[in-house]
């Protein structure tokens, strides 16, 4: 694990806990782990995606990147990109071991335009998505919701309530502002709090369960 961390106490704690488990400082999965699952958290810059991932993850969030080089330029939808352009998209992720066999990975993904052409390659097969909203910058959420609908990825919307948000719009007002259909769950959360982050995930999977149930009884 890298030494670049902004929080020395958290780093020390992680180190102590991980030391007993792996010489490299990593916390490995159990040997029985066989199924990886994905949930993606999308939202604008600074909305709290990494905070949410961190609050529920069993490992300190890691980050990685995907690079589109000339081999993949044809996939780029922007159209204005010339050959040999390199585009880099960075994302954070955390991990939750659901049981001995199943491990859920949570990805914090940027909401901006250049990210979405990588969606199919990185996040196909995802269970669903959480759109994290900052009511002071609601415009950032529009695009994410539009793209998720386009990719037919089921999602819920979670409003990250910031302490200095004086307006405190109600969920009904926010649903209206986002033109969010009634069937899409909308919840409040505090991304810093583990139980709150957990509640957002349960809301999403519960929503997915109902969708799957409806589909199974229809077929």
């Amino acid at each position: 694990m890298d030494s670049a961390t902004s929080d020395p106490t958290a780093s020390a704690a992680t180190h102590t806990a991980a030391e007993a488990l792996a010489p490299s400082g990593r916390t490995p999965l159990t040997d029985a782990a066989e199924t990886g699952l994905k949930i993606v958290v999308v939202g604008g810059f600074g909305v709290g995606k990494t905070t949410l991932v961190r609050s529920v993850s069993e490992i300190r969030p890691l980050n990685t990147e995907e690079v589109m080089t000339q081999a993949g330029v044809g996939v780029d939808e922007t159209g204005s990109v010339t050959a040999k352009t390199t585009t880099t998209v960075a994302f954070d992720f955390g991990r939750i071991s659901l049981n001995e066999r199943m491990v859920l990975y949570l990805f914090g993904a940027p909401g901006q335009e250049r990210f979405w052409f990588l969606w199919d390659r990185l996040f196909s097969g995802t269970l669903g998505a959480v759109v994290l909203v900052d009511t002071r910058r609601m415009d950032d959420s529009w695009y994410a919701i539009d793209r998720l609908e386009h990719h037919r990825t089921p999602f819920v919307v979670a409003v990250n309530r910031f302490d200095d948000d004086t307006a405190r719009h109600s969920l009904d007002e926010i649903r209206l502002a986002l033109a969010l259909p009634d069937q899409v769950p909308l919840v409040d959360c505090d991304a810093r709090v583990r139980t709150s982050g957990k509640n957002v995930l349960v809301t999403l999977v519960d929503h997915l369960y109902k969708l799957a149930l409806a589909q199974e009884s229809a077929s």
Binding site: V56, N63, T64, T69, F93, M102, V205, Y209
Partner: protein
């Protein structure tokens, strides 16, 4: 968290790692779990050695990328090499890479159960 840039503006470095290749083995999903089936051998490329070391326990492709500080595509290429020589096995996710495969209720119930027990 401080970002540690993977792409340092030196793509040459990445081409050296992959021996000039830029096409990856698409069968490796971000959450495919990789397990080493043998230890490193003499003369093996250092990135391959590190992967085998990290994969003594099941390790997701995305965790390998973060640990190696390499882009996902580069890691997929390296994993393709190791798979071809039988040095690793891959446990692919049940949900395929096609949009057509939806999770079933049994799977989702298991996920819900796991989350509620956190």
């Amino acid at each position: 968290m401080t970002r540690r840039p993977v792409d340092t503006g030196a793509p040459d470095r990445l081409y050296t790692v992959t021996g000039g290749r830029s096409r990856a083995d698409d069968s490796f999903d971000l959450v495919t779990l990789v397990v080493a089936e043998c230890g490193p051998t003499a003369g093996m490329q250092s990135e391959h050695v590190r992967i085998l070391d990290l994969c003594r326990h099941p390790t997701a492709v995305v965790e390998l990328a973060a640990e190696l500080a390499l882009p996902i595509t580069v890691v997929r290429i390296l994993l393709g090499d190791l798979l071809a020589t039988g040095s690793i096995t891959a446990r692919h996710p049940r949900l395929g890479q096609t949009a057509a495969s939806h999770p079933d209720t049994a799977l989702l119930q298991e996920v819900l159960h796991g989350l509620r027990n956190l």
